[in-house]
Structures are given as structure tokens and as C-alpha cells.
């Protein structure tokens, strides 16, 4: 299987790039151009009633999908990462509203580690590929009919 890479690719500008490390100091990088490629987030286990919200699919389509799954399973789990947190919360609240309050929400938050690859632009310059880790927030909302 090919290594999952998001299609997002941007050039990290100019030299030298200093990366703030968790300790607060900075690391100087070689004066070279890199392509920043964001890897896809680590996949969580997926059951039939798990929904991962993204920002690319149409909002209404995702809402309809959630509603359909909810009718079938009586309980779904909506996940949202980063910018999609807003949408995940919005979908969960809309489901609750359209059920006239019959649904209950149980939200949990977490932190997800994401990895970025830094590939050198020019292969002749013999730069090493680098990786960088960063954190992003995520939300997991259980939407269910209380028994």
C-alpha cells in the first residue's frame, strides 16, 4: 500500500528555517528548500457507526449520512479533527435538534499527533528528508438515544 499522503503540498520558504522545539529553543535548519507534505492522520478504528467528519464533503451530505446511520444503529460516534471540530459539533447539535431532544450527546476531547514530512526540493543537494510532529485537537461525540 502506498504511504498515505495528503495532496496538500507547499513549499517551505526560505532559509534558515527555525523550528521551535518543545523546550522553547530553536533548531536551525540547512538553508535549503523543502516541500512540506502533511501525512494523513492516523486512522482510528472504524466501526460501522463511526463517522469521521471532514471539510471536503458537503455539509448536508454528511448530516444526511449521520441521520441514516443513526436510524439504523441507534447510536453513532462522530469524530472531528482540527477545523472539522466545528462541523462535527454542528452536525451533532443539528441531529439533536431535529430529534426534538430525544437524542443525547456525550462529547470527549483528545489530542492527535500529526506528522509532516519535509522533502528536499532539489534531490541533487543531498538533503535529508525530515519529519516534524505537531499536535492537533480532536473531538469524539457519541450521539445516542438514551435507553
Amino acid at each position: 500500500m502506498a504511504e498515505p499522503c495528503s495532496p496538500v503540498s507547499a513549499t517551505v520558504p526560505h532559509n534558515p528555517i527555525s523550528i521551535p522545539t518543545p523546550e522553547g529553543s530553536t533548531l536551525e535548519m540547512d538553508p535549503m528548500e523543502y516541500t512540506l507534505r502533511k501525512r494523513l492522520p492516523r486512522k482510528l478504528p472504524k466501526r460501522r457507526n463511526d463517522v469521521y467528519i471532514n471539510m471536503k464533503t458537503d455539509f448536508k451530505a454528511q448530516l444526511a449520512r449521520c441521520q441514516k446511520l443513526l436510524d439504523a444503529h441507534r447510536e453513532i460516534c462522530i469524530h472531528g479533527l482540527g477545523l472539522a471540530i466545528n462541523r462535527a459539533i454542528n452536525i451533532a447539535l443539528q441531529l439533536q435538534t431535529s430529534s426534538q431532544g430525544a437524542l443525547q450527546l456525550s462529547a470527549n476531547t483528545s489530542t492527535v499527533e500529526l506528522i509532516d514530512d519535509l522533502d528536499p526540493e532539489d534531490p541533487d543537494e543531498a538533503g535529508e528528508p525530515l519529519t516534524r510532529t505537531r499536535n492537533n485537537s480532536a473531538i469524539h461525540i457519541k450521539v445516542f438515544y438514551p435507553s
Binding site: N90, A92, E113, T131, I139
Partner: protein
């Protein structure tokens, strides 16, 4: 009549009800879709004030000694956390508190969650309850066009999140409860200094001192070789 645009529907205002209070020019209501933007529009309407309805705290059984942090879109995380941490860690001091409530609405929800997550990492053993709800915001818009003051009131429903972090145990049966994370591998300080250790991928150099232990599991997950338990949540994230 005003139909919420597609973008509006996707954004923070799934429902937008409009009521015009003192309209001298009823046709303005048609030409000016209210709530579509919060910047002054070309036809002269500008937002005067917006008041959030004082909704009751969604978390039951909350005393008065709770430090409430209202997270806004432009709030700086270091300011919020600096203040909250100093109050939470002021042991014995009169300003000390054991409960912190982060609340944010609309686009500040992501920041609210990030604040709570960083807080949980900095202070070990915090119990958490998260609540989601719609909040109603009343906005007053005014136009001074044509010499007369035209006002209208707009009610918007905006999603919001409240996260309570507590040093003391909370009711585990409450929906949205999360127990404190036990000592998982998040103590990054312990991993410092062993950056010379190679991960499974020798040609990759890792800049973050704690990232090397994550990489193999990511790779495995990417190759579909990881057999996760089919639990609802993965504990170590």
C-alpha cells in the same frame, strides 16, 4: 424572504431567525440579508452590540468556586493558560481554585478544546466533563442611512462548547465525562536526550525529540498491520 445562504448554513448559524423591531423602510429587510456578515455592509448596517443569552450552566452540580474562562476567537492561548494555571496551582492561596470551566462558541470552539487539552497535559489527574449546546445570541444592527436610524434585532443560534476540568472527582455517569489520563507515554521529558536512538526508519531524521516512538505505530497503522481493539476510543492518542 431571506433564505440562509449555503455558506451560512454550513457555518455557525444553522438557524437564523430575524425580527425587525423598528423598521421605517420595510424594503430594507429584503435588500439586506441580516446576519450574513458581521462587518459593516455596503448598505450601511453595522452591528452595535451582541449579547449572549445568559444560558444556565450545562453542567449540573457546579458550585460557585469555578474559574470560568471564556475563550474568544482572538484569545491568546498563552494568556488563557497562564492565568488558569496560576489559579489552579496556587495551593493554599486564597485565589486558588480546583475547577476551571473553559467555554467558547462558534469558531472559538477549536481553541477551547486545545486549551483544555494543553491544560490536561500540564496538570496531571484532571477530571473532565464536556458539554455541547446551542447558544442564542441577540444582535442589534443599526443603519444611519438617509438620516434616520433604523434598528433591527437578529437572533442567531451558535454552537458552543463547555469543558469543565476539575482536580476533584466528578460524576462518571455524566454524559461527556472523561477520567484523568493515567501516566501514559505523554511524559515527554523522559524521552529527552535519547534522540540518538534510531526509530525503525534510519534515513528519516526526526527533529522533535519525542516523535520517534510514534512513527513506527503510524507506519504500522498506515500499512494496516495494526490490530486495534475495537473499542470506542483509543486511550493513547
Amino acid at each position: 424572504m431571506f433564505v440562509p445562504s449555503r455558506e451560512l448554513h454550513h457555518d455557525n448559524t444553522p438557524k437564523c431567525t430575524t425580527s425587525v423591531s423598528h423598521v421605517q423602510h420595510p424594503e430594507l429587510n429584503v435588500t439586506n440579508p441580516p446576519g450574513s456578515t458581521n462587518k459593516p455592509k455596503q448598505n450601511g448596517f453595522r452591528k452595535i452590540c451582541s449579547t449572549g443569552e445568559p444560558s444556565p450552566c450545562p453542567i449540573p452540580g457546579l458550585g460557585s468556586g469555578v474559574l470560568e474562562m471564556r475563550v474568544k476567537e482572538g484569545s491568546k492561548i498563552r494568556n488563557l493558560l497562564g492565568f488558569a494555571l496560576s489559579r489552579l496551582q496556587a495551593d493554599g492561596h486564597e485565589s486558588a481554585t480546583s475547577h476551571v470551566l473553559f467555554s467558547g462558541m462558534g469558531r472559538a470552539m477549536t481553541k477551547t478544546i486545545t486549551c483544555a487539552e494543553i491544560m490536561k497535559r500540564k496538570v496531571q489527574g484532571l477530571h473532565q466533563v464536556s458539554k455541547l449546546q446551542y447558544k442564542t445570541v441577540t444582535e442589534l444592527w443599526e443603519s444611519l442611512e438617509s438620516g434616520q436610524s433604523v434598528q433591527m434585532t437578529i437572533h442567531r443560534t451558535v454552537p458552543s462548547i463547555c469543558i469543565l476540568l476539575s482536580k476533584e472527582p466528578l460524576n462518571p455517569l455524566e454524559p461527556g465525562y472523561q477520567p484523568p489520563v493515567e501516566k501514559v507515554a505523554l511524559s515527554k521529558e523522559e524521552n529527552e536526550g535519547d534522540g540518538s536512538q534510531e526509530s525503525g526508519n534510519p534515513e528519516k531524521r526526526l527533529y522533535s525529540p519525542y516523535s520517534h516512538e510514534v512513527l513506527p505505530s503510524i507506519k504500522r497503522a498506515a500499512l494496516g498491520q495494526d490490530s486495534f481493539p475495537t473499542k470506542k476510543k483509543v486511550k493513547k492518542l
